[in-house]
């Protein structure tokens, strides 16, 4: 919570900026001006700093964030794979080329309880659709022998933007 720490290469203004927009811009005629008033900087500076955060890769993107479930994409499957360490990168880079994949990450195994080290997410309108997309990807790449499990979601208990920065006085 200590902006002075700045371990992330962010300065004070960027830190405050992220705190105020992480849950979304105000939907008003001049949203950046509204944000700038809170931060005590100019509207131009807010815009420039957002551009800079995009360019530096701190923001992967900046725009509309849709909620899949509400838009009819009710099924999401987390597919987890047990892949030899030397092959994970190649496979991860292949998986990400499929348009229905929303996430693809390498994570550590937790043996003996958890053998899987590659995770990807597929969103679809039905379970059949998700299964079909996965099967297509598996057969196109000859991944039939790759140990994997499909974890369909059931109840969603919580889904919201991450609060990267929490500060008193800023509504999150």
């Amino acid at each position: 919570m200590e902006p002075a720490l700045n371990i992330n290469g962010l300065d004070e203004v960027e830190y405050q900026l992220i705190a105020s927009i992480q849950n979304g811009l105000p939907i008003t005629a001049r949203p950046y001006a509204e944000v700038s008033n809170k931060l005590g900087v100019s509207e131009e500076e807010v815009v420039e700093r957002i551009s800079s955060l995009i360019k530096r890769g701190v923001f992967k993107r900046f725009g509309i964030v849709v909620r899949h479930h509400e838009l009819g994409y009710r099924e999401n499957a987390m597919v987890v794979w047990d892949i030899a360490d030397k092959d994970v990168q190649t496979m991860g880079n292949k998986i990400k080329t499929y348009p229905f994949i929303t996430l693809c990450y390498r994570r550590p195994r937790q043996l003996p309880e958890w053998r899987y080290n590659l995770f990807c997410m597929i969103h679809g309108k039905s379970r059949d659709e998700v299964t079909q997309l996965l099967q297509e990807m598996i057969s196109e790449n000859d991944w039939c022998d790759m140990p994997h499990e499909v974890l369909f979601s059931k109840r969603r208990f919580k889904q919201c933007a991450a609060n990267y920065i929490s500060q008193p006085g800023i509504k999150t």
Binding site: L10, G24, V58, G63, I64, V65, E70, L71, K158, A162
Partner: protein, 169 residues
Amino acid sequence: MTKALDKNIEYSDFNNQSYSSLEQVLMNDFQHDFPLTSQPFHDIAERYSVDVAKIIAIYEKLISEGAISRIGPVIKPNVIGASLLAALLVPEEKLHEVAEMINAYPEVNHNYEREHKFNLWFVITAADEKRLQIILNEIKEKTGYQLLRLPLEEAFHIDLGFKLKWNQH
């Protein structure tokens, strides 16, 4: 979030037909490159030759309905703060109670039941690694259930937006 959960029931017959073509475009076209201009909604309005008030009203509606979660940044994981995917092996009858306990942490931003022996999956994003581990240890102590800590080691693909297909069911 409770609000969104409650809405799930109302959304049982919710489908793509509920959206006008303008609404569909407004959801799909600005997932990247939302205008970084003084009056972004005005610029969007000009592009589609509609009134700016209409654009603002549509975005307000989409946000209040929950179709859009926000207009803002998708922040690269672990650039700011520390985050982690965790899974817990919870007896079925305790699942709701444990999920609520976990949801009570503001640092928890996703929490799903999944079909697996490890049946509760949640993402924690905390200010730093220390706070992250404090939360995980608390959850472990409070529940006593088996816990998986699965930090991100390498991202091949992060949420880069999602092309909604309106014509399919």
